[in-house]
Amino acid sequence: MQKLLTRNTRQASGANLKVQVLNNIKGLGLGLRKEFLQEIDEDGFLPDWWEIAPENWFDMPFHHREKFEQMISLRPTVAHGVALSIGSDEPVDKKFLKKMKNFLDYYNIEHYSDHISFTSLEGIQTYELLPINMTKKSLNFISDKIKTVEDFLQRPLMLENATYYYLPKSDMREVDFINELMEKSGAKLLLDVNNIYVNGKNHVFDPYDFLNELNLDKAAYIHVAGHYLNKELGMLIDSHGVRVTKEVWEFLDYTLKKIDIPVMIERDNNIPSYRAMTTEYKTMQKVVQSV
């Protein structure tokens, strides 16, 4: 890994910014998936903290409940959702927020995040992160929605910079949109380095320049994940279903030279064994330790 990282000739400028946004979340995290539960041994390897997809646990299947509760009692946990649909031009779904609040309160989970995107409209779900118009108008609307969410949940909201494969009508650059949204709403940024890399390649901009323009003191923690080239579509697809590429590890290394915040590895599709994820976690550990 060290050898691999030396291929990155970029030098991160500026001081290594230390930001402590997340109480009790330190070090390296891993997504806790149902598929891992039977394999995890409480005396074996455990990450520093877990990230969970709350919507998958709203009904809390009895089949997984005991192990899930044991796991989140052993490590601090962050909730990372997909169904908030903060970017839709509709008011926030209060019924959904109530379920979310009940869940977060019940398990005493302090930190909650979702994506700068939308997934549903008029009650219809796509279960996919769709791109939003990056305009002043939508910025103001989303900012108000963020405040409604935070008031309702009685927690700060973190939002992840998402990938997009189509850019709806926009009058702002993505980086300006994110910076202004974080500034105006007070929300924190869940910095996904893989998404910046994928967007950079697909929309022909330099991910390093993008990162340099981001207001990193708004960043709470970092996501790292895998992507693949879909030849038919002619684009990199942020699948969260394959191993992290060396380019993204290099980009993470560069990012960590600029900001010292927790990092976690995400895998949502093609879930491998917990053992395989542990190996990837250790690669992440090497990258972080080498900074």
Binding site: E55, N56, F58, D59, M60, P61, F62, H63, R65, A83, S88, D89, E90, D93, F96, F118, S120, L121, E122, G123, I124, Q125, T126, Y127, E128, L130, I132, N133, S138, Y165, Y166, P168, K169, L233, M235, I237, N269
Partner: protein, 219 residues
């Protein structure tokens, strides 16, 4: 709501957006083929994809993605799709019931001893259905008949168990769930010309077993 966002959203669902339609289609396809593995094995793959697109366009409403396959099942039934597979409704019900039982939360604790003095209903850890096809047995899907199936979460083995049950037991459990144990005993006794004592004796061991398996829940 902005016109542009709405147009984009529905064009994704209508399969008009190259990348996003294909991504959403994949999400639906993966969720449905893994919720219905037996059905997926039986069905024409191209037709399945086509129907998945139709369903996408129709619109899935449940925010919990694991419940979306049930919407698909009801969509197939309502729109009378895949009618060339005679047992489609039974098979989709059977596969969905397994997902549903696996995904529910249950309160546990040792069941109290069964007694005819108590009232019971079917617990939420079980499902029961009259089927027209033998979809619960591999290789026998096309066997037409009348089958009574009981499925439940096995709290000892942590898995879903299915049992074919007799018609009298099916009727008994169905009535018990609606009207309670005492009224059911009386009504079965009247229906079958058996004394209440005989009805009690006839069902006692089975009800005892079902109670120990958490299929019965005290009311």
């Amino acid at each position: 709501m902005s016109k542009e966002q709405k147009e984009f959203f529905y064009s994704v669902l209508k399969n008009e957006q190259k990348v996003y339609s294909s991504l959403v289609k994949k999400v639906f396809f993966d969720a449905l083929s893994s919720a219905y593995p037996l059905f997926y094995k039986e069905v024409d793959k191209k037709k399945f994809e086509k129907i998945v697109c139709k369903f996408m366009q129709h619109g899935a409403k449940n925010i919990k993605m694991w419940k979306m396959p049930n919407e698909f099942r009801l969509f197939i039934k309502k729109k009378k799709l895949f009618r060339e597979i005679a047992y489609v409704d039974d098979l989709l019900w059977f596969e969905w019931s397994e997902v549903k039982l696996m995904m529910k939360n249950y309160k546990t604790g040792l069941p109290q001893k069964f007694s005819y003095k108590n009232e019971y209903k079917l617990s939420k850890s079980c499902v029961m259905k009259k089927l027209k096809y033998r979809v619960f047995e591999k290789g026998s899907f096309e066997e037409k008949g009348t089958y009574y199936l009981l499925g439940f979460y096995d709290f000892m083995e942590y898995r879903i168990v299915y049992k074919e049950i007799s018609f009298p037991l099916y009727i008994f459990l169905k009535k018990m769930d609606k009207t309670g144990l005492k009224k059911t005993r009386k009504s079965i006794s009247e229906m079958s010309d058996q004394s209440k004592k005989d009805v009690k004796k006839f069902f006692r061991d089975t009800l005892n077993e079902l109670n120990s398996l958490h299929v019965l829940s005290p009311n």
